[in-house]
Symmetry: C2
C-alpha cells in the first residue's frame, strides 16, 4: 500500500506543494528527493530486467514486433535477471535518420528542422494525401445526387486534373457495419503469408485493409476489396451522406491548387483543403457541417478556459485539507486511530495528493475530448490541439499557480495590474525555486523512469496474462503520446529558463532530466510506440512558440529582478533583449512557418514530373482510389500482424537481436 501510494505520489506534480505547505519548506522536499531518486534508480533497474522477460515483449517492443514481425525465442539465462545498461547504449547509438524513419518528423525533440521537413516532403514515397483534397460544405441539390453534384463541379472547373471522388458517409452505422463485415471476413479467410517483403510495403499501405503487395495475400485481399467496394456501393444509396467528400486529382500540383483557391463566391460553400493522410483521417468528425466549426472552436476555447480556472477549486479544497485540524473535522474517525500523529501527518501529506492526482489524470482525456468536439479532421490535428490545451493548462496550473502560491484565487488580481507583474514574478519565482527543483526530481525524473517502465502497460499486460489468461494482443501498440509528453518537456524548459536567473542550482537537475529524457524517448520511439501517420513535424511551431514565450518570461523576470535591485542600467539593457527576442520570433514566423502549412509548387511539380517520366503515375492513380477507406482507426492493421509464428521472421530481425 505504501509503495503503491508513493508511486502515485512520484507522479503527482502538486504533491510537493502540499508537502511544503503542511510541513515547512525544507523538511519534506529533501525527504521526497531521497525517495524519488531511489525510485528512479529502482525503476530504471527494473526496466533493464523486465524488458528482457519474454512475457513483457509486447509492452516494451510493441513497435519492433509489429514492424519487424519477430519470432522470439525464450532462452532461459541468468543474464535476464541482471540489471544492465545496454538499452542506454543502443538508444544513444541510434542515428537521427533511423529515428526519423521510425518515429516520423515530430520525434526528432533538431535545428535544421525546416530543411528536414522539406526533405521529408520531397523524399517520401508517393503519399495519397498529396493527391487528395477534402471538400466540405458541398451544397445540396434537389435535382441531382451528391456524387453528380461533385462530379459536375470538378469536371466543369478542374476538368483537366480531376480524377475521381469519394463521398463520406455519416459515421456510426456504416462504420459498425464495416467492422462487423471485417470480423466475419477474418473468421472465414485465414490468410497465411510466407514472407512479407518490408520494402514492397510503401507507406501507402500502412492502414490495414487498404492493400498489401504480396502475391498470395493479394488474391484474397483484392477479393475482399471487391466485396468491400460492392458493399460500400450498395450501401451508398441507403446511408446518410455527409456534405463532404475526398476528391482525387491527377497531379499533386492540381490538388494543392484546388486546396488553396477559393472555389466559389460563397466562402462557406465548396470549402477545400489538402486531405490528411489516409490513416490520419479522423472519420467521426468529417460529418460535422463546415458552418459549425467556428462555433465549436469558440465553444471549446471557452470551455478550456473555464476548465483551467475551475481546476483551482480542487487545488484550493485540497490545500485546505492539509491543515491538520480541518482534517480532523472532516474525518472524525481519525481521532480514534492509535498512533494518531503519525497517521494524521501521513494522511495529511498523501491524501490530498491522491485526490489531486485523480483530478490531474482527468486533464489529458478532458482536453482530448475538448479537442475532439472542436472538430479537427485529422488525428494528428486533434493531438496537436490537445497538446496546446494541455500545455496552456500545465503552464498555468503548475507554473503560475505555484508561483502565486498561497491562496491562489486571492492572488489573481495581480494579472489585472500588468505593470507590477515583472516585480511580482521576480519576487515569487526565486521563492519557489526549492519547489521547482523538487518538482524536476519528482515529476521529471520519476515520470521518465515511469515512462520507460510503462507502469500502466505492464500492470495491464500482467493482468491480461495471469488473471484473465488472455493471449498477447499484438494490435495494442500505442502511438507516441505527444499531447502529454511535449507539454511536460516544454514545461521543464520554461522552469529552467525562468529559475536559472536567481536559482541556477536547478540547471544540473534539469540537465540530468533532459539527458535522461533524450535517452528514454529515443528508446521508446525505437521500441515501444508505433507511428501510424506522419503529421509532418507540425509540433515544431508549438515548441518554437513556447520556447520564445519562456525566453520572454525569463527576460521579464530579469527586468523585475533588476528593478527590485535598483539597477536601472541593467533594466534598460533588458528591454532591447525583449525586443530582439520578439523580432527573432517574428523573423522565424515569416521565414519558416509557411512551409509547415503549405506545399511548394516547385517541389510538387517536380515530383509529378518525375513520377510521370518513370511511369509510376498510373500506379499511383490506381492506388489512390482505394487509399481512403472509411474504417475504424488503424489499430486494426491486422493483416500485417496476422502471420503464423512458425513461418514468420525476416532477415532484419535475424541480424539484429531484439533486446
Amino acid at each position: 500500500m505504501y509503495a503503491f501510494d508513493t508511486i502515485a505520489i512520484t507522479l503527482s506534480p502538486t504533491f510537493v506543494v502540499i508537502g511544503v505547505d503542511s510541513c515547512g519548506p525544507t523538511a519534506r522536499p529533501s525527504y521526497a528527493t531521497g525517495i524519488n531518486i531511489g525510485f528512479c534508480a529502482l525503476f530504471l533497474s527494473l526496466y533493464s530486467i523486465l524488458r528482457k522477460q519474454p512475457s513483457n515483449l509486447y509492452v516494451y517492443f510493441g513497435r519492433r514486433l509489429e514492424k519487424e514481425n519477430s519470432r522470439y525465442q525464450d532462452p532461459f539465462t541468468l543474464e535476464r535477471f541482471v540489471p544492465s545498461a545496454g538499452w542506454i547504449v543502443k538508444a544513444w547509438e541510434v542515428t537521427e535518420d533511423e529515428i526519423l524513419s521510425i518515429g516520423g518528423l515530430d520525434a526528432v525533440e533538431y535545428k535544421n528542422i525546416s530543411q528536414m521537413k522539406l526533405a521529408h516532403v520531397t523524399g517520401s514515397p508517393p503519399n495519397p494525401s498529396h493527391f487528395t483534397i477534402l471538400v466540405r460544405a458541398i451544397p445540396k441539390s434537389t435535382e441531382e445526387s451528391l456524387t453528380d453534384t461533385i462530379r459536375n463541379f470538378f469536371t466543369n472547373y478542374h476538368g483537366s486534373s480531376y480524377l475521381s471522388h469519394q463521398i463520406i458517409s455519416r459515421t456510426g452505422k456504416f462504420q459498425k457495419f464495416m467492422s462487423n463485415a471485417k470480423k466475419v471476413y477474418k473468421k472465414f479467410v485465414r490468410i497465411r503469408v510466407t514472407a512479407l517483403d518490408n520494402k514492397c510495403r510503401p507507406s501507402l499501405y500502412r492502414c490495414g485493409l487498404c492493400g498489401v503487395v504480396s502475391n498470395s495475400f493479394q488474391f484474397y485481399h483484392s477479393d475482399y476489396n471487391g466485396k468491400r467496394t460492392d458493399l460500400q456501393h450498395s450501401d451508398t444509396r441507403k446511408r446518410k451522406e455527409c456534405s463532404a467528400a475526398f476528391v482525387f486529382f491527377k497531379t499533386r500540383y492540381a490538388a494543392v491548387v484546388a486546396s488553396k483557391v477559393l472555389q466559389t463566391s460563397n466562402p462557406m460553400q465548396w470549402v477545400t483543403g489538402i486531405a490528411p493522410e489516409p490513416c490520419d483521417v479522423y472519420w467521426p468528425n468529417l460529418w460535422i457541417p463546415f458552418g459549425q466549426l467556428w462555433i465549436r472552436r469558440l465553444a471549446t476555447l471557452l470551455a478550456t478556459i473555464v476548465f483551467m480556472f475551475l481546476f483551482l477549486i480542487p487545488v484550493t479544497f485540497v490545500q485546505g485539507l492539509t491543515q491538520l485540524d480541518q482534517l480532523q473535522q472532516k474525518f472524525p474517525f481519525l481521532n480514534r486511530i492509535p498512533n494518531k500523529a503519525f497517521v494524521i501527518q501521513f494522511v495529511s501529506g498523501y491524501l490530498p495528493s491522491v485526490i489531486l492526482q485523480v483530478f490531474l489524470y482527468s486533464v489529458p482525456p478532458m482536453m482530448m475530448m475538448f479537442s475532439t468536439v472542436e472538430g479537427p479532421i485529422s488525428r494528428s490535428g486533434r493531438k496537436r490541439s490537445a497538446c496546446c490545451k494541455i500545455l496552456y493548462f500545465t503552464i498555468w496550473n503548475v507554473f503560475f499557480v505555484n508561483v502565486l502560491s498561497g491562496s491562489i484565487i486571492s492572488q489573481l488580481h495581480i494579472f489585472s495590474r500588468p505593470k507590477d507583474i515583472p516585480v511580482h514574478l521576480a519576487k515569487a519565482v526565486p521563492r519557489q525555486a526549492t519547489f521547482f527543483i523538487t518538482y524536476v526530481l519528482t515529476l521529471g525524473w520519476a515520470s521518465l523512469s515511469s515512462e520507460v517502465l510503462q507502469t500502466f502497460s505492464l500492470s495491464y499486460n500482467w493482468m491480461r496474462k495471469y488473471i484473465f489468461r488472455l493471449k498477447d494482443d499484438p494490435n495494442a501498440v500505442p502511438s507516441f503520446p505527444y499531447h502529454t509528453e511535449v507539454p511536460k518537456v516544454l514545461l521543464f524548459g520554461l522552469i529552467g529558463f525562468t529559475c536559472s536567473i536567481l536559482a541556477p542550482l536547478i540547471v544540473p537537475f534539469l540537465l540530468v532530466y533532459f539527458f535522461l529524457g533524450y535517452l528514454v524517448y529515443r528508446n521508446q520511439i525505437l521500441n515501444v510506440y508505433s507511428s501510424y501517420y506522419e503529421s509532418g513535424g507540425r509540433m515544431w511551431p508549438i515548441v518554437h512558440n513556447t520556447t520564445v514565450f519562456s525566453l520572454l518570461l525569463m527576460q521579464i523576470i530579469a527586468l523585475g529582478v533588476f528593478g527590485t535591485k535598483d539597477a536601472p542600467v541593467a533594466s534598460g539593457f533588458t528591454i532591447p533583449l525583449l525586443i530582439f527576442t520578439l523580432l527573432f520570433s517574428e523573423y522565424c514566423r515569416h521565414h519558416f512557418n509557411p512551409i509547415f502549412k503549405n506545399f511548394s509548387a516547385q517541389d510538387f511539380i517536380e515530383m509529378d514530373r518525375e513520377d510521370e517520366q518513370t511511369g509510376r503515375m498510373k500506379d499511383i492513380h490506381m492506388q489512390l482510389l482505394t487509399a481512403y477507406c472509411q474504417l475504424p482507426p488503424p489499430t486494426t492493421n491486422t493483416e500485417e500482424t496476422y502471420y503464423d509464428d512458425s513461418v514468420a521472421g525476416d532477415a532484419h530481425n535475424q541480424e539484429q537481436p531484439i533486446f
Copy 2:
C-alpha cells in the same frame, strides 16, 4: 482675422475641450453652438452661390469636367448669386448605381455590400490586374539575367499559362527620365481630338498614357508608345533592376492560382500576389526588398503608437496654457494691452485651439508618411493603412482622452486595471455628453459644410487665378480622401453609440450630421473627386470592425451603468449581448471577409471562358503588355483632358447641365 480664426476653430476637434476647461462646462458650448450653426448655414449658402461661378468650376466640378470633357459657357445671370438648394435635390436623386459607377465600391459609405462586391468583380470590364501577379524577392543569379531567370522559372512551372513579364526598375532615375520625356513629347505633339466616345474607353485605359481607343489620337499615341517602349528597353540594360516583376498570365484563373500557391520551398523567395490595378500601383515602394517588409511593418506600428502617445504632450501643454495666470507668465506683453480681460479671455480661448489645430493638421500627413514607409504596393493599400492609423488615433485622442479628461497622463493608469474600465467609462462618458454634442456641431456639421465649400481648394484656386495669374489646372482633380473622411464618420458613429445610453439628446444632432453627410458626400463624389482606381470595397471591413467595436464599447458602458446603479439582473443580461455581438462579428468574419481578399475560381473560370468564346481574349492579351507603365502617378492623365475647348463637348454633357 476673427473670421479666419473662427474657421480654424470650427474645424478643431479639441477647441471645445479647452472652452469647457477654462470657462465652465455650460457657458462656452452654447456660444460655440450658436456660432457654428451660423457658420454652417453661411457655408452652405456660400457653396450654393460659389458653385455657380464659372471661375470655381474646377473646384466644384473637377470630376465631371475631367470625365465629361465639358465646354462651359459663361452666361451672366442673376440666378448665379442667389442661394439655392438645387444641389441637394440632385445629390438626393442620384441612384446607387450611378455613385457606384462614378466613385467605385468604397463610395457607397450599403447592406448587401458583399453581393455588390461580387457583382463588381464579375460585371466589370476586363481588368489587367486580374491577369497579373506581382512577383517579389526573385533570387539573383550570376549566370543569367533577371529577365531570363523570370522567364525560365515561369515557363518551367507555369508554362501553359505564362504570357509575359515586366521587370520593375528602381524608381527615381527612371521615373524622372520618363517624366522629362513626357514633357518634351507634350511640347512637340499637340494632339487635337475631335470627340472622344466615353463608351469606347474601358477602365483599362484610365491611366493616362497607356492607351486610348480613338482614331486620330491612336496614331500619335501608338507612335509615342512605340518610342516609350524603345526608350524603356534601351534603358533596361543601364538602370538598376529590382528583384520584383509583374508577370502576366493567359487567364485570370492561372493568375489567381499563381498568386495563391507557395512557389518554392523557401517562403522568402518568389513571393507572389495578385497585382494591384495599373493606376493603383504605388511604384516607389516596389523596389523594397520583400525581406524588409515585416520589419517596416513592426517599426511603423511602433512609431504610430509612440506618435499617438506623444500627441498627449501638446494637448497637456495647451491645457496648461488656458489658465489665465500661466498665459500672462508666458506672454508678459499681455499685461500692456488695453481692455485686458477681454483680450486675454479671447486669446486663452482661441490661441490654444490654434496651436492644437496645427498639431492636428499634422496627423493625416504623418500617418500617410508612416503608411508609405510601411511599404504597401498599392495606393489604395496605403490609403487604407493610413485610414486605420488615423482611425485609431482619432478614437484614442478624441474619444478616450476626452473621456478621461483632466490631467490625461495621470488618468492613464485606468487602463492598467481592466476590471474597473466599465464603471469608469459609465461615469465618465455621460459627464462628457455636453462636450460630445458640441463636438458633433463643431467638427461634424462644420467640417461637412467646409468639405462642401472646399475652403482650401477655393483659396488655392483663387490665389492661382487672381494673384499668380495662372490658368485652370484640369489635372488637379483630387481623389476622395477616404483616409480622413472615413475615420471622421466612424468616430461619430462611436460617439453616437456610446452616448446614446445616458445622453440620448445627442441622437438628433447626429441624425442631422449623418443626413447632411449623406448629401454632401454624394454630391462631392458626383462632382468633385475623381477615382483613379478601384480598391474593391476593401474599406468595408474597417467600417464593419469599427462599428462592432463601437457596439461592444456601448455594451461595456451599459454594463458599468447597470453596475453603478446596482442592477445586477440588467448587468447579467448585458453579458449575453456582448457575447452575441462577438459571435456576430466572428460570423461575419467567416462568411464575408474571404471575398474581400480572394477571387473565386468559379467566377474567374467563367469570365475566362466567356472571353475566350467571344474572342476577346487576344485583345486583352495585347492590351496587357502595355497596361503597367512605370510612370508618375495618374494625376498625369493629360491626354484625356488635353482637348481643345472649341471642339470638345459631348452628348452627355449637352443633355445634362453641369450646375
